[in-house]
Symmetry: C2
Subunit: 360 residues, 2 copies
């Protein structure tokens, strides 16, 4: 799928936009005053595959935590700041890689100029983040609670920065309503070429939050819109990263690790497929190489789909047929399916089938 070409900005070492890989974000939920706990969470997020971490910076003491984390890791950090441009100045001073502020509510014109000048000097990009829940009254009166109101509100903030000759801008337009979120991003994407940070805000608790975010973020990504994503869940930040990576993988925008294509089972299925697929997922979850494994219950769809996969099995009565890149390797008793697949994948990895020779 073709991606919309946006301007590129850099959050520290991380490129955003302009054809860069889509990055996955999250935000710490420890007290930012607690540097040790926050650092531990940042490390946990890095381990989960997070590309860039946001911190709430709500007072001056929070900026000490930025310094402390910067000493320990080079993962790009974003400061989330409301209402006070001096905190943003202090965050830049502390080495922050990106700011999330809305210039229209961060202080006086003179204050914003100071901040923008400092950000410009160090090439610290600014994300303008409009949430449908906190639109200004005049926008709501003019456009109602609409995607248009969100976009126009973002453009108002953008103009403040552009007026000051600042263009290292990222934009987000989040609503908790999925169709409204999608429409707002589509609208702004046609108006500007700044990179877009995608998210559905307040998406809720894990299960429904993942569904809402998958639709909202996924739908836009599938249209080529979006440069960096954050899944907002009422759950741990690492869960947000897991879901974000899942969305990218579902769209083929990140190729990494095992992808199991497994059928939903039906009355035709004669093997214990749910258990087999789950055990394989578990056993193969540590693999970084992109491997497509098909686990199919029957001969109707099995062989066809398994042919597209790197390796696959299709179940029969008490036995399974094993395929590798479209060729039948053999037939085995169902009880041996698990070990046979693991062994074959190990051998394929060892022989460099997947571009490296990492072992399980």
């Amino acid at each position: 799928m073709e991606r919309k070409l946006t301007r590129r900005v850099y959050a520290g070492r991380l490129p955003i936009g302009g054809g860069a890989p889509i990055s996955v974000q999250s935000m710490t939920n420890t007290s930012t005053h607690d540097a040790a706990a926050t650092l531990a969470q940042v490390h946990e997020l890095e381990k989960a595959g997070c590309d860039i971490v946001r911190l709430a910076i709500y007072d001056k003491a929070c900026t000490d935590t930025i310094k402390a984390i910067k000493k320990e890791t080079d993962i790009p950090l974003v400061a989330d700041i409301h209402f006070d441009y001096r905190l943003a100045l202090a965050a830049i001073e502390a080495g922050i890689d990106k700011l999330r502020i809305n210039p229209g509510n961060i202080g006086s014109r003179a204050g914003v100029e100071k901040l923008v000048s400092a950000a410009g000097e160090r090439r610290v990009p600014i994300r303008i983040g409009v949430n449908s829940g906190s639109l200004k009254d005049d926008m709501v009166q003019k456009y109602g609670h609409t995607p248009r109101a969100m976009a126009e509100s973002a453009l108002e903030h953008v103009m403040i920065l552009e007026d000051m000759g600042f263009y290292d801008i990222v934009l987000s337009l989040k609503a908790s309503d999925v169709p409204r979120t999608i429409e707002a991003y589509r609208y702004i994407s046609q108006r500007v070429d700044y990179p877009l940070h995608l998210g559905v805000t307040e998406a809720g608790i894990t299960y429904n939050g993942i569904i809402k975010s998958s639709i909202g973020i996924g739908c836009l990504l599938a249209e080529g819109i979006g440069d960096t994503i954050r899944v907002s869940l009422t759950d741990t930040p690492a869960e947000e990263v897991k879901a974000g990576i899942g969305i990218l993988k579902a769209l083929g925008l990140k190729q990494e690790g095992i992808e199991i294509i497994s059928c939903p089972t039906c009355g035709r299925c004669n093997i214990d497929l749910i258990s087999l697929a789950s055990r394989l997922q578990e056993a193969l979850s540590g693999i970084k190489s992109p491997i497509k494994l098909a686990v199919m219950g029957c001969v109707v769809n099995g062989p066809g789909e398994a042919k597209e996969a790197d390796i696959g099995i299709a179940g029969g009565k008490g036995q399974v047929a094993l395929f590798k890149k479209g060729s039948i390797v053999g037939t085995y008793p169902e009880q041996r399916a698990f070990e046979v697949i693991i062994k074959e994948i190990q051998e394929m990895m060892a022989s460099g089938c997947f571009g490296d020779n990492t072992s399980l």
Copy 2:
């Protein structure tokens, strides 16, 4: 969002297409020979909110199970049949409400005519289900493994039915690849006005399967495409229904039960929001009335979003502010948040705020 207007068909009492509510499907994975187990699963699916249930009909004995289930419930049943038109005739005889067959591979022309004539007489609609994994070789040679090949393959089957004067048709074009699935449905949606059954096939184990299905199905629904959906998961059929309903609710296509808008928490959050939101979700899960509840950690986004919700709380330091339809009702200690919200919702329900007086 505007929906594409399709022809309407009826699977028993259930309208599909032509502006009917989008129905949620699943498929039993018990042995269809085991009538008792299959009936139990059908009942379980009805309880989960399933609108229409598919059964694999792979031999004559399976059709006895259709009869047995029909005696006990009126939920519409679909027979999934491959390669043998006689099974389809027997399923119609047994009272099936809809067939899933591909006319091009169900038997001789004479056989298909018999079947289509029987289906036409009883107004039993036929779903043509094309899966990217089982495309015929000539289509793959002509169009490659593309969305176009899937659509053209479906149209070939459609022509057989149209030639026989049969138009009670539903179409599905499923791939395990999400972008390919989306493209195939977009393509066919522009070519025909038959109702579309949406699904991503072999989406995999629950977690990734839900992400893939949410993107694929959700993206199309958000464009107004799709009349009935099935989430295919390597999990129990009831889990498929839960995810399907979740997708419809995320898009506002089904309004039922509690919707919790809760923030992801961050370093500003001073209350134990994840736990509070989860406990509320659990306690309120039985409610059928559509209630929008906001559970927000801080004052930055909290009050704004909470104003849009029927009822909401925004956390402060050790306390919460309670909102009802935009008005502050009061401030309470954090420990009382749970009971206060439950009590308010009970009172709102009792006084008919949500269109009925169901109690918790």
